[in-house]
Subunit: 474 residues, 2 copies
Amino acid sequence: MIVLDKNENEPKYLQIYKYYKSQIVTGQLVEGNRLPSTRSLANSMGISRNTVEAAYQQLCTEGYLTGKACSGYVVLPFDVYLYNDLLDNQTQKNAGIMEVLQDSSGQDIKQNIKYNFQYEELNIKDFPIRTWKRAINEILNSYEIDCLSSYNDRCGESGLRKEIMKYLYFSRGVRCKPEQIILTSGTLSAISLICQLFMDDYSEVALEEPCYDSARKAFKNHQMKTIPIPIEEDGISIPILNASNAKLVYTTPSHQFPTGKVMGINKRLNLIKWAEEKNAFLIEDDYDSELRYNSRPIPSLQSLDYKGRVIYINTFSKSFTPSLRMSFIVLPYSLLKKYKQKFSRYNCTVSWIEQKAMQFFMQDGSWSRHLRKICTANKKKHDALLAEIHQCMKDKVVIHGNNAGLHILLEVNNGMNEKELISRAEEVGVRVYPVSVYWENQENYKNNMVLIGYSSLTEEEIKKGIQLLQSVWF
Amino acid sequence: MIVLDKNENEPKYLQIYKYYKSQIVTGQLVEGNRLPSTRSLANSMGISRNTVEAAYQQLCTEGYLTGKACSGYVVLPFDVYLYNDLLDNQTQKNAGIMEVLQDSSGQDIKQNIKYNFQYEELNIKDFPIRTWKRAINEILNSYEIDCLSSYNDRCGESGLRKEIMKYLYFSRGVRCKPEQIILTSGTLSAISLICQLFMDDYSEVALEEPCYDSARKAFKNHQMKTIPIPIEEDGISIPILNASNAKLVYTTPSHQFPTGKVMGINKRLNLIKWAEEKNAFLIEDDYDSELRYNSRPIPSLQSLDYKGRVIYINTFSKSFTPSLRMSFIVLPYSLLKKYKQKFSRYNCTVSWIEQKAMQFFMQDGSWSRHLRKICTANKKKHDALLAEIHQCMKDKVVIHGNNAGLHILLEVNNGMNEKELISRAEEVGVRVYPVSVYWENQENYKNNMVLIGYSSLTEEEIKKGIQLLQSVWF
């Protein structure tokens, strides 16, 4: 017998629904049992028939009952044992919870780290917060805001893609039309898209050894076999590449990650020639090439490619902010048709408002002002870092990959291996980072380097950090 | 001989750089040629040595020259023929441009369409633009803004994930902890992540027939074999599913897409049991289940799963706006360890500011207010649509999948097939949409339905549109 709780702020129909549901779930009402007619129940409880009807209808929709107001409602088959079997030992549900919680994400910095030479985060002081606020609100208040309720252009806002095209042409020598540009939510999303584009043709991808480990991970996650190709002074080894079966190459020609090497002009020409002969494609990750100190940016590989073999990718994460999750791909025309076939139903993965804000930001000149600003700011830090290293460590270290980007590799010749270098640094509150992760085959790596990022620290902090390193390393 | 253009606003060093680069590229300077010393060139041109040095250094970095200021600079090998060979027939580059440009994205609506019963776009009038502006600026002005220069939590902002957890528990009966929730930039990004999680174990996925074609496409793009499983009145056919080798099932139990069917309670229990026995996983796409009219929302499949077999995904695209590109996955604990192994280096693909704005929006109650509002708004449209169809078309049509979501399927029994129904509608300026695309095997589809979305139109427009359809269909 149902007892409605008048004080209960739960609607009456819900109380009736729950009552009969529990009756069925606990097996007190079984297959074929007939529920009281809506009229009789309504009368007996002094409520309206519609209330009862609503409760019964809900039970029908969910599959507990069948029937109609006129002909009456009957209980459907319900497997109480199965229900209880699924319900019991909830503990199973929590299997693995501990190991998961133990496995800390590895991002968090220990409290006692005072100078963190990390690479990924930028310095908020270099971010044009006021201008960006203006850009966002410009869009929020514009007539275009109606687009907010739509998916919009599947490849990204055409206005933004025009701005990116112009920027790429003038700063990177990239020749493309807006329809070749696809916005993605980060570089790994770009790689995922490229994998999906090629997975039915190619099962292997060649990567520079060492290379950006996240990219390698992304290719592996798409079941692509990754083939490490050693790099020479002027970039990836073409003979070894040629000996592999790879038809897809991931490369960072203008600022090799992590070594910072630059691919020479001849190597670039020969790589494109190789790709054309092999009907292969080159993925050029141009990730932080805006940031060159003491020389102009190196023209992109794509700028030399008239054969449509280069897939160009770049990101706003290094030059603007990673929290925006905005990157892009420039596909050669030869791939656009295949792209449309595979991705015609995909929507853009980047927020529309922030695409429009970035378009506004680029159109009104703030973008190029910002680039000049961060280039100067990071050059100062870069120079301070190098000066301090020279002063403190002299010829006991070798610096790799300076004059560009936001990090260097420091080869330390004091007999310590990477692990020791890092742990000794932590003892004095300095965090430097392993380089070993970037090698697919550890034996190719002489284990005496650390990665030093400098963009998130001040010049003062950089100097103090290096002095502390000197004190524990030598 | 270099002639500097003093008026040219291009820096002098750049002019020198370009001059020698062209000399090498055109073969007038060849391997071994020695460039004038920085001193002599500087003197002869009446400029500083540093200017010349800068130009030479750039040519060295790019691989045209080798040498030092002291010992002089020498031209490196450069393959002029290769360079020209790559340069010529640029036409190749434009191969395929025409077909690409012809292939219009299919999104654009012909001018003469007055009543567009499309499904994807929402009605901007239902979007809480003022509150959302406030939420965005709340973050832009908060002390937390420093996080803007970081990648932040790889799975999504913990504060937002807590809000999503609460919301899911109360509105969908989903039981989870924040660490099970992963933010993704859209449902297809969620599916891509799930594919990457399973591709090394499973090569097949079972999908309801018919089903959301974009999801099917995404699985195919990850080289997963898609197995269509017919749906019965109460959902996917378990015997046929059981006969397949699939260990992964994509399902829309609470509002089957596109048919709108609801999976009955017994089917749900048996599906979970099947998954447990087969060590299989169920992907529950709960895409628009907030929107139920004339009944309460159907509890999610995940709410019945105590065995950790259900991967729950949902999106803000139907209930808030698709332009945000915000969706999420709830992984069972049993998969968290594997997830961390594969994705430890992936960053969140959703914009940080908008994550924080959404957190704020949910915390201050705007989210639930918004849900109530759109539920009422869409119920009105839904009821108007059904009333008009009943009035105009009576028993000549059958309505499928009403009482929920933002669309219905209309089965039209006038002898016309889908194609005719659509083209006749266009003749009077009404657009309705094909259903055939949702079937993997066309022969399973009796070709006389159209999909009618109503959320982007007003009640008045809906009525007029239906009247026009009646005029050309009967």
